[in-house]
Amino acid sequence: MPSLGADMEAGTLVEQLISPGTEVHRGDIIAVVETQKGAIEIEVFEDGRLEDWLVNLGEKVPVGTPLAMIRAQGEPETPQPQDPVPKPPRPEAPPRPEPLPQPPGPELPPPDLPQPEQPFPELRARASPAARRLAAQSGIDLGRISARADGTIRYADVQAGPRQSGMPDMRRAIAAAMARSKREIPHYYLLHQSDLSAVEEFVARTNADRAPEERLSPAAIYLKAVAGALRKYPEFSGSYVDGAFIPSDAAHIGLAINLRGKGLVAPALFDVGTKDLDTLMSEMRDLIARTRAGRFKARELSDATITLTSLGDRGVDGLYGVIYPPQTAIVGIGTPRPAPWVADGAVVARPVTTLTLAADHRVSDGHRGALFLRAIDTHLQTPEAL
């Protein structure tokens, strides 16, 4: 069970997409895991053969639990099918625990104590024995039952059934990540006005004779501009883990995507710096469609190295981003609007936006941040060069 973000503690295996004995290749999607952020596709990272699943369908397991046994190519073969030797003993999964009442162990803190290190105290709600029994009998995940104000789950709550939408889980995941960000990351903020005439003209010119499915949107240009600026200022791409910054050579840019009233998620577009605009545009459309449908890949959630959030054309002038840990920077692009602008000594009307940067002071300073933000602006003045 991979960790799909610092705020994730467990996940439920909801689909096994291949059966034991199947060859797998790096990048294949082999499973789907249900998390607070939705259904996540699990990729395999090596070539080999799936020997067996180690986790049953519907089972919720902590992060770090092996999901499947994959025999890499070149590893000693297991007996061939025609060989009547018995299969090697399957690693015994611990027997499914009986739905016994949970002993009031120390892991269940009194509900009135603040719990800064436990993102989801309410997920550890105390369920009554009858509630647990009913949940186990009817196959209901107790994690999906809303606890009462006193932190308990009773028989009637299980009877009432799981929460209907994924919304409370999503909101909890956002709350945990953002609270951790505000608690741990000393943010500094910068802002800069940018003239988007060149971007708008380039997009209009490019799209004039293109079919809708081949049209560019300014967001693709913003992504390339950020990747271009990262080449010169790489300290804004990476992660801060255990007191040290780990830079990333690649620009895996998380794109903040609004989920129509259900929340927000920022899955990554990979290697933005090395892709052309058309490729990026089609990948972005695909990513947004899959994200809104609740299907993204594990890597897309965990491997972003910086976030870009664009308010689009119905927002406000600018935003102050909250860094998604363990990343160390977030770039914001406000809604462009016509504004007075001085060009060649004259005041003219231009489409102007406010670029913002929130960055981690443990890793960089405002001076470098300012240069990075200006570099994004500079790239936006020559979109044809992206």
Partner: protein, 81 residues
């Protein structure tokens, strides 16, 4: 295609993009993106879908004629009729 058929198709594409919006609550003479809470990528997806369905180019230069539900409907009627 009749006006009613075009309207049905338009409603179908819009509800695919904005499934949470009830058409009853929508002011058809007001800004389409506001009413359906759709961003520029959603709008591009809408134009892509409608363009395919009706065999139209729907160039960006015509976007101002698609600013409300009623205008977009009238545009589709005029171009595909």
């Amino acid at each position: 295609m009749t006006q009613e058929e075009i309207e049905t198709a338009l409603i179908a594409e819009l509800s695919r993009i904005a499934p949470d919006i009830d058409l009853e609550d929508v002011d058809r003479g007001h800004d389409l993106r506001e009413e359906f809470d759709i961003d520029s990528i959603d709008f591009l997806n809408l134009v892509t879908a409608l363009g395919k369905r009706f065999g139209l180019d729907m160039p960006e230069a015509d976007y101002p004629q698609m600013d409300t539900f009623d205008h977009l409907h009238a545009y589709l009627v005029a171009k595909s009729g």
